[in-house]
Symmetry: C3
Amino acid sequence: MIKTPAKMLLIFIDQTDTWQNRPLHEAIVRLLEQNGIAGATVLSGIMGYGIHRRIHRRGLLGVSDDKPLTIAAIDSEDKLRNVLPAVRPMVREGLIGLTDFEVIP
Amino acid sequence: MIKTPAKMLLIFIDQTDTWQNRPLHEAIVRLLEQNGIAGATVLSGIMGYGIHRRIHRRGLLGVSDDKPLTIAAIDSEDKLRNVLPAVRPMVREGLIGLTDFEVIP
Amino acid sequence: MIKTPAKMLLIFIDQTDTWQNRPLHEAIVRLLEQNGIAGATVLSGIMGYGIHRRIHRRGLLGVSDDKPLTIAAIDSEDKLRNVLPAVRPMVREGLIGLTDFEVIP
């Protein structure tokens, strides 16, 4: 059971981002799973840009060639906030946020 | 027109999940459409884990090999809550929730 | 820095939608980037239907054959609302909305 209030954690990164020589999205999903976060899904994107990338790297249309990924993770607000200090430093060029999420049991 | 307040229904399942011998995501999209829900999109994922899968099936990194899917459906809160009793039993191993959604007309 | 309150703008369109002879999702991402919106990601879908499509075009299961796309953009509520008058007329058959988003700095 997920305690209320629940939240959805959203993390916007790139497929080519790495953490300690492995894909960043795999490292984050593993961290979430090891911390007992109830569920996580990595959605695949085809195009995007972010805060830092806009400045550092520009391809066609000012948009990076990298494929973006979005990680969505669901659990109680408490559990998600507890894992944020570990996740936040892994995401050096991406965007992280929380949205309300009412779990339907 | 979508009546306010509107909501977004999010459903996290697997590409291999089935319902009555057909893909679960197709069955859910069809159900939503038949119930007049204004719009639905099935987003494709590359990796993920969920509450039950973590216990029952483990691949590399404790993560299932199945591709996850996320269904996002938008309509008034009333219409979405009315369809939940039909959708909920179809999602045996996934996670379902509602978030606020302000439709821009 | 993204000013609070932040929001997530979600736009549900089709991969085949166009705007001035180019893909609509590219035109929207370019517009968001030119208006200084902090980040945007185009997520790829495999199936979906929308308000107008349900009436105009029906394939198997009453569902269009087009691949849906979902654009997620993050910034302060002010900046996103300021760009809406330019984005709204570009999305003739899709759905646009805003959700709360607490940026984790």
